[in-house]
Amino acid sequence: MPYSPLLVRPMREELVAAGFEELTTPDDVDRFLGQPRGTALLVVNSVCGCAAGMARPGVRLALESGPRPDRLGTVFAGQDLEATARARSHFADIPPSSPSMALFKEGSLVWFLPRHRIEGRDALDVAADLRDAFAEHCATAPVG
């Protein structure tokens, strides 16, 4: 049974405040990931505090400076079920986990951070992994 939307709202807003677009329908996901140009970070958000409690702050830290993806999007696992399923269909060879993060470049998946590499770490560690990925795959200047 999904958690109450009231409980989940602050967890959504934490990423929206960092510039993420909420993708709540399959069409939202396809529009977001269907753009062939530039880079896009997709965060599969989660209620679980064991991992998501550090994932969101890690993402925010990573976006504060340095290279960053051109587009930021998020689906919420366990809440927006169809959107999450559609998002996962874009990296169907990877087992589902949440929270998790996927970085796309020119429409192709180039980097993935599964849940088990977020669990038990602090936000600085998660941010460091993200910054490494951004440095490798994201141009400093956003694509217009």
């Binding site: 958690y3 409980l7 209620v47 505090g49 064991c50 998501a52 087992p95 669990e119 038990g120």
Partner: protein
């Protein structure tokens, strides 16, 4: 911010690698260790009679991207567990 579950084992919510006395390797999210049982969720298992190279390849993939949740809930007798550790630290 998040939803935490009090009163569970220290590894609750953490993806673990469990090796059993019969040679199986389980990877899954630890729920709890209670009542003589290790409870996993969203787990997968690699058979005990697998070759070392097959096991190494399976574990390498698990460390990189995780495992398919072929077993939604699993209870392993604690007495059958030879080792238990975080997958990310393996």
């Amino acid at each position: 911010m998040g939803t935490f579950h009090q009163g569970k084992h220290a590894l609750h919510g953490i993806t673990v690698l469990v090796e059993t006395e019969t040679g199986e390797a389980w990877v899954g999210r630890c729920d709890d260790l209670v009542g003589g049982e290790l409870r996993l969720r969203d787990a997968d298992v690699h058979p005990g009679d697998a070759s070392p190279s097959e096991r190494a390849a399976w574990l390498d993939r698990a460390r990189r991207i995780g495992v398919w949740p072929n077993h939604r809930r699993v209870s392993l007798p604690e007495a059958s567990v030879r080792s238990l550790r975080r997958l990310a630290e393996d």
